[in-house]
Amino acid sequence: MPNHPSPPGSASPAVSRRALLTGTAAAAGIGLTGCGSVAGGLSDKTRVKQWNLLAGADGAVMTEMHDNFSAEHPDIDLEATTFGWGTPFYTRLVMGASGGNASDIATIHLSRLKSVSPATLLDPITLDELKAHGLDPADFPEKIWEKCFVDDELYALPIDTHALVNYYNKELCAQIGVLDAEGRLIETSGVEAYFDILRAAKEITGQYGTSLDTLGGWRQFWAWYRQADGEMTFTDDDYEMDDDKALAAIEVMYKMSEEGLCPQFADGGQCAANFENAASAFVQVGNWEINRFKLFGGDNPEWFSMTEMPDFFGNRRTQGDCHSYVLPRHNSWDPEVRDATIEYAAWMLQHSFRWGEGGGHTPAYLPVTDGTDYQALQPNAEYSGVVENVQFDPDAWFSGSAARLFDETGGIFNQVYGLQMTPEDALAEIKSRIETLLALPNPVD
């Protein structure tokens, strides 16, 4: 799906790795029984199907963790599948769950929990189950834990917090002279101060200063809008937003692109590539690209570092979200599968140090983040402040990562970067899209 914002990377080597065939014998034998597929049907292991939207570097880390999990659980056959990030994934989840036919467990963004209609499409998780697998509510940050409940039922298990961060090429930054004595990127204040750095970077790279995912513009918009203390609230048929602050945020995009400080079009993969090829000295994408960049460095994984988003409007707030596990609704649960599913989720959380180290995310499981290992982790420590500065998307059924607000405004921001739309027109278009969304009957509750 080329036209969806493609944040977490765009390359995924591992897709449905375990959907292996036992040969044509299987095709002849099973299949026509009405249920089940030819794949995996012959195994006597407990099969747990997992769907995720984690491609790219995240996908690689998750795959590695899955391999470890499988090695420790020879009786569980974990079958993980990665779908196109965003709408394709959520549509598949909802369509599958509506027929009781989705996976056993899936990863979603916590901001999307309400939008997938938990009461009808998800199965709640009981605290007893969690305890049986060694998890305790006290192991999670309270603010996040509360977001996992809908109507007093627990529907989600948070995996991490992730956010937009600012990566910088150490060598290029040294040339520009924007590193401090300890080799860290200096802090700036205000748009112009940062643009000056980008201009200097552009001189050196010959192409761009920074690179941003032009299809995922909502993230950048929300970060900057929130830096300016912009509020966005929705009621049943009305909304409030601060036009001036929104316009200021959109103008940043337009000016940056107009001056050639960033590409007019780049998806997540291209952004990362620009950064790697030194076509840009910075890249403002999610913390999830950390592993990709480390790998790119080969013998020199520390060729780059990362810090919080630059201060444009008075602080360093950024947009972010939490990956979480949910259980799509089942027509009926096989108790063994259910048990294996919770075991899988618990194991993944308990081993989420690797998720933080490799994926750059901040694990939600406190015993991991509070551990000394994690505290000593670099460069994760350099952007640890991000967690306090994370701004979650506004609360509405059409809002959240890859939800309609995100998607539709993303198309508009893409045109702003492409200089095909002025900031004023873009703001008007965004407001009109919001009004259209508000006018829609809420299909979730």
Binding site: Y90, F265, L440
Partner: protein, 314 residues
């Protein structure tokens, strides 16, 4: 889109001439038993959903499965006032407008050529028709890659030929102005072969004597083409155009796979919007009403098609 050919000639013929041979056929229940299995499937998977959809269009049924309630004509009113729906129909029309001429003209031109290069017939037929049997996702995978702005095959050669400035590569699928054309080009490449075969077959039924007579009169090749060949291909052309119209109204696959309806909905077509409303937006009731609007449009064109071809039969 797969080109849809419902053997339109066959259908009306069967309709207008009910089987009456052997006059005194007795009423036999046996016939019912032969027809029943098909009729049962037909009732379950075609008739029933048709009515079910109509019913849903009067409710606010949601994909989430929460209880639905009757909303009367609300969905219908919304559908008729929905700018996005009209825009999607407009895009569908735009696609039809762009794709039909090349699908007709190219097919005729290639058929004329191949008809004269008979010794290569097998190879040429294969070359032009082969893309038609390739699954749509394979077609789009290949073309998305060809269209890649940076280093894709198309831009590479355009730059080599000096038509394109390397600093400003065309964003084929990401630019509002080129996205629809890009999908059209892919579609023409994919489905032209079917029309090409139709024309080739039609050409091969033309009696060569017709040309010989006019050659004696000294008619040039162009005159022959305009005054003999093309008029004789009229019927095939009418068929191709009607089939193209119907197929275009149902277009979905290429847009879904290549552009996702973008950029900025520039390639969002009718079925895609139904899919978006119903499955991405969970609004089964509303999507049902939208489906019915489209349904009626297709019905009108189908009836037109029926009339066109039953007249031909007479």
């Amino acid at each position: 889109m797969t080109v849809n050919t419902e053997a339109p000639a066959a259908a009306p013929a069967a309709m207008t001439r009910p089987p009456t041979p052997n006059g005194a056929k007795k009423k036999q229940w046996a016939g019912l038993w032969f027809v029943l299995p098909f009729a049962a499937f037909y009732a379950l998977f075609l008739v029933w959903p048709t009515f079910l959809g109509l019913y849903y269009s009067f409710t606010d049924k949601s994909l989430t499965g929460r209880p639905a309630s009757w909303v009367g004509l609300e969905n219908w009113a919304e559908a008729f006032g929905d700018e996005r729906a009209w825009a999607a129909l407009g895009n569908t029309a735009e696609f039809t407008l762009y794709s039909t001429p090349p699908l007709v003209i190219l097919a005729i031109a290639l058929a004329l050529l191949v008809n004269r290069a008979r010794k290569l017939g097998w190879f040429l037929r294969m070359a032009f028709f082969a893309p038609f049997v390739v699954p749509v996702s394979v077609v789009t995978m290949i073309w998305i890659w060809i269209y890649q702005p940076d280093g894709g095959l198309l831009n590479h050669y355009l730059q080599l030929l000096g038509i394109q400035d390397a600093a400003a590569p065309t964003l084929w699928l990401q630019d509002k102005n080129t996205a629809m054309w890009s999908v059209v080009i892919t579609t023409v490449w994919w489905t032209m072969g079917f029309n090409f075969l139709l024309y080739l077959a039609a050409l091969q039924t033309i009696d060569p004597n017709v040309y010989e007579a006019s050659s004696i009169d000294g008619a040039s090749w162009w005159r022959q083409l305009w005054h003999i060949t093309l008029p004789l291909l009229k019927r095939t052309t009418a068929l191709v155009i009607v089939l193209q119209l119907i197929a275009s109204l149902r277009i979905f696959d290429q847009m879904y796979l290549m552009t996702g309806g973008g950029p900025d909905r520039a390639t969002e077509v009718a079925i895609h919007y139904i899919y978006i409303s119903g499955f991405e937006g969970y609004r089964i009731g509303y999507a049902s009403a939208l489906s019915y609007v489209l349904f009626i449009l297709i019905l009108i064109i189908s009836i037109f098609q029926f009339r066109l071809f039953s007249r031909k039969e007479d």
